[in-house]
Symmetry: C2
């Protein structure tokens, strides 16, 4: 048994719907919700988040100094770069965003666009 | 455009089947294949692999000093601990394995058991 940050835990499995689905309130985000499946209380070096972007929604067009590793679970979307170029995102697609690249995830379909996004922990 | 390790790349998206599916030849592995979706040539701090464990297959019962973040895409399996306890793994389930925990992924169903597994890069 390993103790970290006041929480005791060992290996576990859970279904995604056991995790709270929270609104993303960052400026520029529209119709975006997030679940922190593996957060900083559990992860040592990376976090795994599940994003749900509803019809007409998108994440902010922004950049930051950490990378993204993405895997699409459902729906149809695009990863947009600083010039407006769109990289397609469908179930079974994965994507990578370099640190400091301007990027945005956009729902391009009629259903929820759902993807995993991994980031390093500080 | 960012240059790393001799490769030039910027953000991208790809479908998983564009990546080579390789046999896992480690001792104790049976009917396991791996795709390195995000490997050390692309990732800065983490790698994302897609595992396909065929019927009757399993990964080695082993341990190592890095953690696993797992998300199940298809099939039915279990994450087994040092005492033989089984944590269920089905589509939509995620799992975490602490550094140095003895663990094994086992296909418990009739179909391919498929999951993503994220690890830190050195």
């Amino acid at each position: 048994m390993i103790i970290k940050g006041g929480n005791i835990h060992i290996m576990f499995s859970k279904k995604y719907d056991e995790v709270k689905l929270e609104d993303v309130k960052e400026d520029g985000a529209k119709n975006v919700k997030i679940q922190w499946l593996i957060d900083e209380k559990v992860g040592k070096t990376f976090a795994m988040r599940r994003f749900v972007v509803a019809r007409g929604g998108h994440t902010p067009l922004h950049h930051h100094d950490w990378e993204h590793g993405v895997f699409v679970l459902a729906g149809e979307g695009a990863l947009v770069d600083k010039d407006g170029n769109e990289h397609p995102l469908k179930p079974g697609y994965f994507a990578f965003v370099e640190p400091n690249e301007i990027h945005q995830f956009v729902n391009k379909g009629e259903e929820d666009f759902i993807f995993l996004c991994v980031i390093p922990l500080p």
